[in-house]
């Protein structure tokens, strides 16, 4: 108030100055908090290791406890430091509280922002940079990785298969999920049924691959089949097949695994959406003489399109990254390669970080439309 005569530009300058001070102070407190708590944790770990014999389990437990303690220590310590610099008492109490309130959110957000930046934001830019570089990521080679990609047979095969997966898996999982949701809501033991259909969600992709590889197991004609699928096929008079080596169709046998896992997810979410439909619309339809099928397809499904879209996109993102199932079941042989596994191949067997990064970028580009849609939906939600 005292400086009411100051002109506008210098007010902006002093604003900028105080903003800079706030920012620097925030960084300073954050850095002190992180460094002090990490040093404390490492020191305590050293002490524990010195006193106790180096059993692996003790070490692991100690690291766990100290890691959590360091996290708490950071939040507690940085807050204390801030309150010491701007104490909420004394002469400048009002100004101090305002200043402290400008800094505190960033202390709370600090670790999250740092970790997100290092683990998710920086890698996107680094991958772009790497895609213009050679195998070891040192020499600049222009766009030749992209040229290679355009003409590469393995990449084309992966793209074709990923597109197949993209069409089949979200559609099938959502469809079965919808059916399961609609049916289980109508019966007495519906919750038990739901639990059992939902269960594969807890099983790892590798575990599921073992389970399904056992189902697809093949024994030569004449001997007893120990895989369920071939047993059924021979029971009905067919010839046993080594299913995961049958060109083209083997892709679908791999997709079945993911559909099996994801149906439960779709079911749970769609069932909640179905239960959220206003009773009146259904009662009105019943009074008008609609059959149960008409009620389902013409009254219920149109009202949950939004949720169906959410389920569909969630599974789509999962499919774009699908990796474990292909790696464990075929490792991309017999025409089943997909992008994520192809990238892994170039990373670990091809040892070409440039090419692998280029493939990763392709996956990223495929995800971007969904990302934008998600952000728009979320912003609508916040408003």
């Amino acid at each position: 108030m005292a400086v009411s005569t100051t002109t506008a530009p210098s007010a902006a300058a002093s604003d900028l100055g105080s903003l800079l001070t706030t920012a620097l102070l925030t960084l300073f407190i954050m850095a002190v908090g992180i460094i002090v708590s990490v040093v404390f944790a490492v020191g305590a770990y050293g002490l524990v290791m010195l006193i106790l014999p180096a059993y692996k389990l003790i070490g692991a437990v100690a690291v766990m406890i100290l890691g959590v303690a360091a996290c708490f220590g950071y939040y507690w310590g940085s807050n204390r430091l801030l309150d010491t610099i701007y104490p909420a008492y004394g002469a400048n109490i009002g100004a101090n509280i305002t200043k402290a309130n400008a800094i505190r959110p960033w202390l709370f957000l600090g670790p999250a922002v740092v970790i997100l930046t290092i683990y998710l934001v920086y890698p996107v830019f680094n991958s772009v940079w790497l895609s213009f570089h050679g195998p070891a990521g040192r020499n600049w080679i222009g766009a030749s990785n992209y040229q290679w990609l355009a003409g590469d047979g393995g990449f084309r095969e992966s793209m074709r298969n990923n597109i197949l997966w993209l069409f089949v898996v979200p559609a099938a999982a959502t469809f079965f999920g919808l059916i399961a949701a609609a049916l289980t809501d109508r019966i007495a033991w519906g919750n038990v049924a739901k639990s059992l259909i939902f269960m594969p969600m807890a099983i790892s992709f590798v575990g599921a691959s073992v389970i399904w590889k056992f189902i697809y197991d093949y024994r030569p004609e004449g001997s007893d089949q120990i895989g369920v699928l071939n047993a059924v096929v021979t029971f009905f008079g067919g010839d046993p097949q080594a299913w995961i080596t049958v060109p083209f169709w083997n892709n679908f046998f791999l997709m079945v695994v993911l559909i099996w896992i994801q149906t439960g997810f779709a079911m749970v979410i769609l069932s909640a959406a179905l239960r959220g439909i206003p009773e009146e619309t259904i009662e009105a339809a019943i009074i008008d003489g609609a059959s149960p099928f008409q009620i389902f397809y013409k009254i219920k499904v149109p009202q949950i399109w939004g949720t169906i879209a959410v389920v569909w996109t969630t599974i789509t993102i999962l499919v774009l990254k699908i990796f474990d199932i292909v790696l464990a079941m075929t490792n991309g042989q017999w025409g089943t390669q997909v992008l994520a596994n192809y990238m892994f191949d170039w990373m670990f067997r091809g040892l070409d970080f440039g090419r692998a990064s280029t493939i990763a970028l392709v996956i990223m580009v495929l995800v971007v439309p969904i990302m934008i849609w998600n952000i728009r939906e979320a912003r609508k939600d916040v408003r």
């Binding site: 957000l109 997100l116 890698p123």
Partner: protein
Amino acid sequence: MSTVVGQRPALTWAVNLAVLLLVVIWTVPTFGILVSSLRDKDQIAVSGWWTALFPSEQNIVARTAPPAEAEREGDNWVLRGNVFESGSGRISAFGVSIQQPSEFEPGEVAEMRGGGTATVEENGDYVVTYSEQPEDTRGERIFVTAREAPKFTLANYRTVLLSEGIGQSFINTLTVTIPATVIPILIAAYAAYALSWMQFPGRALLLAVIVGLLVVPLQMSLIPLLRLYNDVGIGKSYIGIWLAHTGFGLPLAIYLLRNYISGLPREIIESAKVDGASDFEIFRKIVLPLSFPALASFAIFQFLWVWNDLLVATVFLGNNEEQLVMTGRLRELLGSRGGNWEILTASAFVAIIVPIVVFFTLQRYLVRGLLAGSVKGG
């Protein structure tokens, strides 16, 4: 709705049957490996697991002791023994040539091509008789069709836990999973509180960025982080993978927790502020306890995700005994023991049992988290 169905018994039946069919299809695969993992390893290899409760019919090729060891009995030289090397069973037929492996009934006398006769009793005892002293040192081949009683055993589990390294991998997985679940919760909870109840410039932008990061594919991060770890000197270590899982789990954690924490009643938080509580105290004493359901939801998600992860562990952990996690071991076994279903099924079952137990006991929170994550925002 139920009244509508109630009026149509046929439809009720159809619905029940359809659900039953779905449930059977969705559980049989898992049930199959559970049953198989408990069966005798020789039986797994020759008969389907669905026959586990019935005696299995097996074609065995047995070899007798070397004819040169035959003992003299009267005018003849005789070899005695049993076709079952271990265990027991019942013989339903036997033969002495590969073309007709079940030519004779038990107890009948078969003429062998190289001279001599052979008889196999129902319990597997064989008697081979020669009229002249034999000199062969290779045993005669006898083909038998045996019915073996169903055998269940825990031996497969003993094998995989002790000698196939699954036990060690179980501990490794646990070492990865627990800190990788706890650390992101703590960091995300503070961030979620700031994003819900504190005013600062750029809040909306930060939220949008986090929603965007939710779908960034993991594959993007692998190579840059691997290089970064090597430059910094973290290399392949548990610290490295904990932080990696923390980073990959944070967007979902912040998103879920923010949805929940911003929905807490405004009056509670404002009256605490009026009473002079600082943000730090409000978070610790009011928000954290009230958010327990959301924290539990995310904890289960993260636990299942880290426990079941293969990709991150393969990239950021080594392949040695001290660091190989269960999913990695399972994948290795699929490669090296592709046909040994007794080992694969038992290993797979050890690997999936913990998540399944967690799943069934804490399903309520998992469902709540799924709904909060997908229906509200998306």
